[in-house]
Symmetry: C2
Subunit: 596 residues, 2 copies
């Protein structure tokens, strides 16, 4: 059976040594997150992930969810108990304000726990993950009454949440949505329509499900400007918070999916269901975007989580499996063959995944820290910078970490040879599960378009200039540091490629937007590579300091080697990305539609 | 339901215009393959693939194979009828000599049909595919009596074939195998052992199954030098060819796999089964290599087949799915949204797959033609050159076409958004099925090691020098041709990268073999890119000629645009591959085993 071990030590190092987490105690909640608290939270979270969530991952995949004739949905054996442990441990509200029953701790910590949960059991982790997304949307856009009614129950895990956007004929292009909301005259609305791909839409883990649903109020404008957000509980909720009658919303069927079998992906039928407006009428997409940004970061984290668990299992297999001899002579002459870990191509694969994971974890935590600054700082300038960073990096974290996370799961599966293709070993599940993260919350091509079309040009390119400025300052500050040369030089070349691509867009995409569209995915990956390379440079600096301090030298040597591998072998991809971008849209767009 | 259309027109163009197939009538069987015969064969094969094999692809995936309590295996509904149509159409023996009931046509044609079958229904196509591999091994190494006894029945499809190599503790490292062969005293052997991952090991499609099994004769040397090949029929065969009693071989269980559910992947238990030596004792691995080379090419073709069918379905979806508007203004203003085919990132994806498929098809057919030359030419020099080409390109076709074929299936799936993740649409199956091709017949890392460690240095690098020489001659011959400049220039740069990498290995891998191991996969892809780029250059030349002749100008314009897309966007990857190779083995091998 596959195993999972949460990367607690690495997370502690990143927070403390690389990202200056503990220097941020100007932010609300951070003073409660002293080093010993952070360590205790991470160790408890790790225990939950390793001992509660991971053991039902493979069984959940095999059994899947079942829709019963009455429309109820049964989750796989063991999911309810694991979910209860998650909820009762207080994990749902880790970073939710204390007034709603949460612990008010930094979102950065919650993000670390999300990685653990995603690595241990992606399908199960989605139930609380979506609940946290719904809480985030209600916190920002819900009325005081809505917050009081729904959030504490969701924090307690007694109720879960969902987001209902997609319809059969519209996913990306939500302006086409048809679900209708008709005023009931009492302040509520009757919601009618069909939503598809609703994760956790129906299940047996909680007493109630709080659906956040976008719909068009009768008479509202067509397109995205006529979309409103509603809260539609599965069971109506009385003034006292007690559950009332069943609402007119039900699960029509479950999708048969490639993976995440333990998560119920539902077709949800709204048949005059009673809902209440969240935020302003016709501004529903804005409200939903809050939830989507949270969700996009969380999905990026899923890519990392699956990459990490796949890596760990590939390493274990590479140590155990005896096959062939090292090119440089037998390494285990007493055994019939050497462990395959001696083979350079196996190591190349493992190093590549490892070098990605460690930098991706830094990027995720760095971005989560910006989210905390954005929501908790009292300094407007600091908030603005953090907001810029979030805008720029959200599509990168979502798109790059899930593309690469999936590819890494595939590479890790490859280490197993034929055994990787057999479900028993669990590697196929990591691949099948990781695949969804490239798709949901905006397919990765949409992330790329969001980055290039919206985030990059926004405010005259301020966010990108700030990022480039930060990296260049780092390069200048460490330009004379011989120990850092192996990081500074390749990062400098990569930044040049990023600047070249940005410049090329400025010169070629204004007049011809297809040039931006044709290069968008390459640009997203280019920026992702530079961001990961920058993370490695900062990690290296911190590792050198720890090494100089004389503790655990082998640990820091391993860090530095892994970082140099990234600089030597992964980062040069920026040149290819730049070349593709500069090829422009001509051959991409030239073919007549009928010629495909 | 997904659809499949066999690429008949493109295959005809490649054979006739690009590869000079019809100029090879010095080869046995080619004079029977006049243009009208080739066209008729391809059209019939296409019909079989489209109308017989494809319709049971998705149902076969859903139903899978079932092992019954008596050890028999039931294939999915419809598989038997489809298999019968395949067998009765004479497809099994298309390129088998007429004396054994075959049609003696070129293997090149058979390879084209293999692509059609692999695209239409990979799981089903494997049953005849393995049979053809077994026939190939018997043709080369079987005794006259074995050939007469087994091949005609296999050609008729009445019996199928398998190859039994892998055991639980050994896949790549066959020297570790434990299956034993004990002489019975009558010329036969008693075979005892367990083989795993045996595709088509047991099923209900044919009367008998001819297992080719490697085992160690009692007292034979340890390692690969003590391995012999045996033929072990499921039912013993009398002198008259009639089926006798059941042999001591049975299917112990079926693997639960990620994909190719319609193919029975068996654990095969040999319990004193009666077998007969094929070829010389202790030379079994050599005999098996014949089968493995055929099989490796066929697996590369599977990668192409899955890439093609995934592409076709993604195009159909991109035409139908309305979502968003073109960046340059509405293209279907009468509809609620434009088809997603208008979006540059969608086109980029489709062009990338298409540009690969068309060149990969050329590479496959070119290599198959070398196989025909190798086996049918009377000119020793020509045979030697063809043999060199086969040795060099077999790992490339297997490794690169399956890596890229899988990646393309994933990219095509991505076009469907959430629908791609739902089994109903069929895209998940293409991804799951395509995944196996990277693994079996030697995982792709093994292909890379075979290329770099064996094929490249063999005979002083003669094969690579011949390939480079051929490409450089082409570049020189077309260096002044303005119409070819868009192909010649990028191909020249890519060839430089390949030469640089080859030189680097010569200088750095002799003393330190890990430098070759760490760069092997990148080298395999680098050579693959150059080979595909060379195919595009030759295709472009032929397309320019057809365009100049004035026929179907739109078709040839599309060809040329697709080729330029490859040169602009795919081929520059050679630079990245070279950079990785030159990074050497240092960071790859530096980490202590316990640090992973």
């Amino acid at each position: 059976m596959p195993h999972y071990r949460a990367p607690v030590e690495d997370t502690l190092f990143l927070l403390g040594d690389v990202l200056g987490f503990h220097a941020r105690d100007n932010l609300a909640g951070f003073s409660d997150a002293a080093p010993d608290v952070v360590e205790a939270v991470l160790r408890e979270g790790a225990k939950l992930a390793e001992e509660v969530l991971a053991p039902v991952n493979q069984t959940g995949d095999r059994e899947g969810c079942r829709r019963n004739p009455d429309g109820s949905v049964t989750t796989p054996a063991g999911f309810k108990a694991a979910y209860d442990a998650y909820a009762q441990g207080g994990w749902m509200g880790l970073s939710v304000p204390e007034e709603f029953g949460g612990q008010g701790l930094p979102q950065t910590l919650n993000t670390a726990i999300q990685e653990f949960a995603s690595g241990a059991n992606l399908a199960l982790g989605m139930y609380p993950g979506l609940t946290q997304g719904a809480i985030a949307a209600l916190l920002v856009h819900g009325s005081a009454e809505q917050k009081a009614r729904f959030i504490p129950k969701m924090v307690a895990g007694t109720w879960t949440g969902t987001m209902n956007l997609t319809e059969p004929h519209c996913g990306t292009d939500l302006g086409l949505l048809k679900t209708k909301a008709v005023p009931n005259g009492d302040g509520s609305y009757a919601i009618t329509g069909t939503k598809i791909f609703i994760s956790a839409g129906e299940h047996d883990l909680a007493e109630n499900i709080v659906h956040l649903v976008i719909a068009r109020i009768e008479g509202a404008p067509a397109g995205t400007k006529g979309i409103s957000l509603f809260v539609v509980p599965k069971f109506l909720v009385g003034e006292d918070g007690a559950l009332g009658p069943r609402n007119g919303v039900s699960c029509g069927s479950l999708e048969h999916k490639m993976g995440i079998h333990g998560n119920a992906t539902c077709v949800m039928n709204y048949d005059g269901a009673t809902g209440w407006l969240v935020g302003e009428a016709n501004r529903g997409l804005n409200a939903m975007f809050v939830m989507m940004n949270e969700a996009r970061l969380a999905v990026g984290v899923q890519g990392l989580g699956q990459s990490e668990v796949a890596y760990q299992n590939a390493v274990a297999y590479a140590r155990d499996r005896l096959q062939g001899r090292a090119l440089t002579g037998a390494k285990a002459p007493d055994k019939p063959a050497d462990p395959i870990l001696v083979h350079p191509d196996v190591r190349r694969t493992l190093m590549q995944i490892r070098a990605f994971n460690e930098a991706a974890r830094a990027l995720v935590l760095w971005t989560a820290l910006q989210s905390d600054i954005l929501h908790r700082s009292e300094d407007a300038g600091e908030r603005r910078t953090a907001d810029d960073h979030m805008g720029l990096m959200t599509p990168v974290v979502k798109g790059v970490l899930t593309d690469r996370g999936f590819a890494n799961a595939v590479e890790a599966q490859q280490m197993f040879g034929g055994h990787g293709y057999v479900e028993e070993w669990g590697m196929s599940q990591f691949v099948r599960d990781a695949r969804i993260a490239m798709i949901y919350e905006g397919a990765n091509g949409i992330q790329a378009m969001d980055l290039v079309g919206r985030k990059l040009p926004k405010d005259g390119g301020r966010a990108m200039m700030a990022f480039l400025g930060e990296v260049q300052t780092f390069l200048k500050d460490h330009g004379e540091d011989a120990d850092m040369a192996a990081f500074v030089k390749p990062l400098g070349a990569a930044v040049n490629d990023l600047q070249g691509a940005t410049m090329w867009f400025m010169q070629n995409a204004m007049a011809k937007p297809d040039n931006a569209g044709a290069g968008a995915t390459d640009y997203m990956h280019l920026l992702g590579l530079v961001a990961l390379g920058y993370m490695w440079a900062r990690i290296a600096k911190a590792a050198l300091a720890r090494k100089a301090a004389g503790e655990e030298p082998a640990r820091w040597d391993a860090k530095l080697v892994t970082g140099r591998f990234f600089m030597d072998r992964s980062l040069p991809e920026t040149g290819l990305r730049l070349a593709r971008i500069k090829a422009g849209a001509d051959t991409t767009m030239a073919l007549a539609a009928e010629a495909f």
